[in-house]
Symmetry: C3
Subunit: 453 residues, 3 copies
């Protein structure tokens, strides 16, 4: 052992990390608490520890419970691969595959909670501490948490591996916390990837959190946190990035891919930023501000919505129709500035049929400022239906769909709709007079100029 | 030892890292120089080394002096916790706390310099090398530098731990340098966090530098550097991010919280970017461009100024009044585009009394381009005065203040003021004709449209 | 050895990493494949491994061939220093230098491929695997790949070390791949830094890739990738960031410095983002969208073009003249919003002589949206010619040039030129009626207001 505060799960004398890494890590945490028992020794005494998980497969049967500050759990590989493609590939094809499971420093979550026990019960890593101070500087870095399988959802679809449900959570933080870091992780096939309550100065950076029911969820209330430079993509039921009652969040430079019922869903979030992200979705409601979100900035983002091109998932969606708004805003004094929004869909898939899709839908509140957004709406180039394409060809199917722009035609949309309940908004250069629908006696408007004017 | 170029401070045979990690690291550096003495051996010969600091408490009595390139000093934990909350909590409460000090791979700075010796004398890590080439690729990663205490400032306030003064600096780079990296660090209770002179291609990324008198200071002259994805928050006297005579800096995706006399202060800085940041401040002067800053871009940032809600700090501020400008610009050809600015303050706290606060104040120069900034000015919801709230409840106090937007009313402000000394500026869609004050015969203007126009 | 899946190149029993680290790593990969031979054992079985390269100089004679997923190769130092300055410094001066080579965990690429063998033959690291699934989660982190020398290019210039040619590539990925990460690397003096074909969810973050012929090249076709927070700067012949036939790329927060024939060159790229970057170039054609790039967003970037101030490189350029466009756009429905563009050059260096430089040149396509770009064009302050400055003073020469803004005068330019082939574009607030040249009967226009209007 390099130092008394450096642990390696494969070298710890108690427990077998291959069979239950959870028990091993809990033993290590008990050892840390035992060794670092005094609150203040010579201006210190509780520096925490680092626990290393070498590359390998480790089953987790016992939930890890973290109640010490300054604990860093670190691996050497995020280990992401697409389990979704694998589970939608015929067994016959799989026989020729090089590998079928994620890898790296990989934790196989074997917890099978009862739904009644709640999310925390299904968490591989559960952080909770009462009292003061808030638990601080717990770090998760560079390892993989794999929920292995989704389970049947009772819908009768007989499509268990595509339900995005299994009651498992990767990391669940249940009490107020400060200066946590979740970086470089790979999270996959979990119903919830990362759920954090009551965070202050939380960093969720450079992770790969995909093929999870929900990816990143900030709950309770909190402030001054950052979700940046992640690859994220939830299931069709869930949120890619969700926050409620937070202030001062920075959602920046993420590449958020489908499916995801939403790319970003804020509820009662204020004074936060969504900037410089690339969002891709298959459904309306890519960005939702609900429950009076105020004074947020949405700028320099690229939004793309097209239709699911991959056959195994075409039967699913998030249930919203094209009148919901690709972006829906409930709240006041928000800023939507300098975004590019591409909306491309063949008219046959518009819901309700023959509707004119709404891109930005302001449903309530006042004082929102919507300026210099470039909205490009086109009918999609019909793709071949995919039924003759092997499901394993998800990548080429998706990229081909994305690249096939050449001879699309423009689609008639409402670029901005301000509902009657909302007033004193300003809409500038985000569509012409036909495309922007609102009461101009109570909202300010300047249409994008047209040629020849 | 894994390799001759890998050191662990706890395993090095000379010195005791618990008592003086500075002496140990200096011994290691001497060993590196001794072993890597020849400039060019078989196309190499001076690859440097890595020095590992395991989690633990390490006093630093002797200043570390770094004069070799390619030295990486790395720990396993940034170890941040709020010492400010702790030092403002009654001793009686502290008795029940889980821990009271920062942690991780933590260096306790025991240097007590005389003020007359200058900043370098108080630095835990002092980098300096004369001659050619510039010292290159020194890296600091993932450890904690803790200044432990602030000291009385002679003001008679008897509030030593809130002075942000102790003469200590975390990392001080005193000579020209190239391709340095400071990442993942935790810096706390230092009068100066990171001070770098004459940098080229410096990266300061993903750090937690807070509760320091000043956080990041770039001095001398330099270019092409990046300050990104940090959590930063200086004391009420100091700068969160400061630069002078630099070109081509990218300040991006930082979450800068109060207090900080400024969030960003540039002096003579040119052709640099401040984009995609979230800034929160309690005082005017959040962003200051001084001494003829030119051709800089400020875009897609979220600025929020409200009033200090936490009782122990309400007696301090940065001394500026609301006519100074929340952003003050001295210089030419700068661009301020697509920012959201929230300014919320109860009228009783406006200084001078009954003044109309200025948001963007252009004090000199010409050719600045100020467009599509959304300025939201409101009176703050009166909070309870906090005197009955325990000081340890800083988090809930702050978040409650931030979230309490509901029934605020709008505040009359000057959104843009262009002083007479400044001409040929362009102000577009950043306020109406009453809110933008300037000589329109020498500056260009287009007001934000009003409803019904 | 910490664990069976953790390797250290200096401890592996077969081969000598100082003489040929390539052979050692290939032996390790063979061992991994031998040990992890079964596709599915107990829900796992192929977690991959981590290979550690301690700081040191390691020659690479044998190309590393990677065909296993979840392999992480990691060092402890990116080791960048400027070889360009060193090779342009007289030998007499070098005798006094502290060090002359890059360092850190440094690989010296000794492969000398025949040009006829193609790029892959000259790669230090060659990743390729056929069949399914795509190779996943290979990671390169925190080490240095040094091509050592450039070679004579037959031009008769007798300036071999400045040719940016040697047939060497740092990392070459030749087959479809998923969730790769290239982070924290230092790449130098390679004709090609990183070349990746057919990537999905690739992350190229926080690297230092400079003084390479080309830095980052995405080829074939791919999607949903990120190039963020890098320092990048190619040679005058090559691309700093290049992509072809990709969708959903996010190029974010990079600091791209000269020289580079282009800072960003996209060919047939769609629905991608270039946001929040700082670009600096010495030539026209900083950003090129070729071959029908569509629906891309370019926002919140800082572009600076000035003249090469460093004597040894003043004889080179990328061959383009000032009518090419500092940014050239071939494609439809792109968005250029909220960028700052500084163009500063002494009139004597404009090509063709007396031409009016073009800043944004839309050469084909339709529906592009160009709004709120602030274009600052000035004549450069004449610098001393540099002939009396030592070449090693590259840093001070460059920074002095950048900072010398004071008394520049404005330069007459075409801020936006829309060629006849391109229609239905919208140009707003990006220049006045004289500065924006296009057919206003088929394109929409609103000029930046002038003072007194």
């Amino acid at each position: 052992m390099v130092s008394e505060n450096c642990y390696d799960v494969t070298k710890y004398p108690t427990g077998n990390p291959r069979e239950d890494i959870g028990a091993v890590i809990n033993n290590i945490i008990a050892d840390i608490k035992n060794r670092q028992a005094v609150v203040d020794v010579n201006d210190g005494g509780k520096p925490g520890s680092v626990i290393y998980i070498p590359p390998g497969d480790y089953r987790l049967v016992t939930q890890v419970v973290i109640d010490v500050s300054y604990l860093k759990i670190v691996g050497s590989g995020h280990g992401f691969t697409s389990s979704s493609i694998r589970f939608n590939t015929p067994v016959g094809e799989l026989a020729h595959w090089h590998e079928v499971w994620p890898g790296g420093s990989r934790i196989l979550v074997d917890i099978s909670p009862e739904a009644a026990d709640g999310e925390a019960a299904g968490a591989a890593f559960y952080v909770k501490r009462n009292g003061n101070p808030r638990i601080s500087s717990v770090e998760f870095a560079d390892f993989c948490i794999d929920g292995l399988h989704f389970i049947d959802d009772g819908s009768g679809q007989d499509d268990a591996e595509n339900t995005y449900r299994n009651g498992k959570t990767g990391i669940y933080v249940g009490s107020a916390n400060d200066s946590f870091r979740i970086t470089g992780m790979g999270l996959i096939y979990l119903e919830h990837g990362v759920t954090v309550h009551d965070a202050d100065a939380l960093a969720i950076d450079n992770n790969f959190i995909a093929e999870c029911g929900n990816c990143i969820e900030l709950k309770g209330m909190g402030q001054a946190s950052r979700i940046a430079n992640n690859f994220v993509g939830a299931g069709y039921r869930g949120h890619s990035i969700y926050a409620e009652n937070y202030a001062g969040i920075l959602v920046s430079s993420n590449n958020v891919f489908p499916r995801g019922a939403s790319s970003v869903h804020f509820s009662g979030v204020v004074r936060s930023s969504v900037t410089g992200n690339r969002f891709h979705s298959f459904y309306p409601g890519m960005l939702v501000f609900a429950a009076n979100c105020c004074e947020n900035l949405v700028s320099s983002n690229h939004f793309l919505r097209d239709r699911e091109p991959w056959a195994p998932m075409q039967k699913y969606d998030n249930g919203l129709d094209d009148l919901f708004g690709l972006l829906q805003i409930d709240g006041s004094n928000n800023s939507l500035i300098a975004n590019h929004i591409s909306h491309t869909i063949d008219t046959q898939y518009i819901k309700p049929p023959a509707a004119k899709p709404v891109i930005i839908n302001v449903v309530s509140g006042s004082g929102n400022y919507i300026a210099n957004n470039h909205i490009v709406a086109t009918t999609e180039i019909p793709q071949k239906d995919g039924s003759d394409t092997p499901n394993s060809a998800c990548f080429s199917t998706q990229v081909s769909a994305l690249l096939s722009i050449g001879n699309s035609t423009s689609l008639d949309v409402t670029t901005v709709l301000v509902q009657k309940a909302s007033v004193r908004n300003t809409v500038l250069d985000s569509g012409n007079a036909e495309q922007v629908v609102m009461d101009r006696t109570v909202n300010a408007f300047r249409g994008t100029p047209a040629p020849g004017q």
